[in-house]
């Protein structure tokens, strides 16, 4: 699965996610990716999210919308990412990862899997990593 979230100079937020699914999945199975609020979400008044991981778990907790809900309650992009993924793991036993940008440009990224390929660009600098400690 791949995803992107952006905030432009006018303060517009967008998010996108795309996937080939799961190896050897049952034909016709659809995961979280194309479901609004699960595989991604964007709202200019809050921020944007793109998710990856165990699709069925992400659907059950509406992961992307949950993260923006937590941000509406005052949590930062990073705090909301961590809280929502830990909640998903504890409630439905599913692992995954997210990238998040708040409306004011704060970046959040977190994963409960072994690794997550991710990166962000801001103020002319590019950051990226794969392992937890990258």
């Amino acid at each position: 699965t791949v995803g992107a979230v952006a905030v432009d100079s006018m303060g517009n937020v967008a998010s996108g996610t795309s996937t080939g699914g799961i190896t050897a999945k049952r034909p016709g199975r659809v995961g979280d990716t194309p479901l609004v609020g699960c595989g991604g979400y964007a709202d200019n008044e809050v921020g944007g999210v793109s998710t990856t991981g165990h699709g069925e778990g992400i659907i059950k907790v509406c992961l992307a919308r949950h993260i923006t809900f937590l941000m509406e309650q005052g949590l930062s992009a990073q705090e909301a990412s961590e809280k929502a993924l830990e909640n998903m793991y504890n409630k439905v036993g599913s692992s995954g990862g997210v990238i998040v940008i708040s409306k004011d440009g704060g970046v959040g990224q977190y994963f409960t899997t072994d690794k997550m390929a991710r990166g962000w660009a801001k103020d002319g600098q590019i950051y990226w990593g794969v392992a937890m400690d990258d």
Binding site: G20, T52, W128
Partner: protein, 156 residues
């Protein structure tokens, strides 16, 4: 004026050691593509699309070219895009003959009153919109084929 920012991911899973270097390069390419759009005054929507197209075209990622295979050995891709300025969204599920599902999801958002089109209906919509059809084999990477032959079950 806001400071433009973009973030990307290429999947959360047990990425094998022999794929890490290429995965990092792919992430950098996607970031540069999206950030360049933002720095030249493009919209967040255009930046997201540009970054995702880069990764859909890169066989190291499970999307577009590089998609994993179903139990039957077919390709079924899902994609979604959302515009936070209008709350409009478009998505597709189980499409199989196009190179960039994110472009088709964008067309669903822009050209229809719907949010999600799936399967044959989505493929038919792609044809109506003039999206070039590609051979399914062109979307299958050697890695995806090897994994399917081992029937290794992963996740999205």
């Amino acid at each position: 004026m806001n400071t433009p920012v973009i973030a990307v991911h290429g999947g959360a899973w047990a990425i094998p050691e022999n794929m890490i270097a290429d995965t990092k390069l792919g992430i950098q390419d996607a970031l540069r593509a999206g950030y360049q759009v933002l720095q030249s005054g493009g919209t967040a929507l255009e930046a997201v699309q540009a970054a995702i197209i880069k990764m859909e075209d890169d066989p190291n990622f499970d999307a577009g070219n590089g998609s994993v295979l179903t139990y039957d050995g077919d390709v079924e891709m899902d994609s979604m895009i959302m515009d936070g300025s209008t709350m409009k969204a478009g998505s597709v599920g189980c499409v199989n003959s196009i190179a960039n599902p994110i472009k088709l999801a964008t067309l669903v958002m822009e050209k229809t009153d719907h949010v999600l089109l799936v399967g044959e209906g989505a493929n038919k919509f792609a044809k109506e919109m003039g999206v070039p059809r590609v051979e399914i084999e062109s979307l299958v990477s050697p890695h995806a084929k090897e994994e399917w032959e081992r029937k290794t079950v992963g996740h999205d």
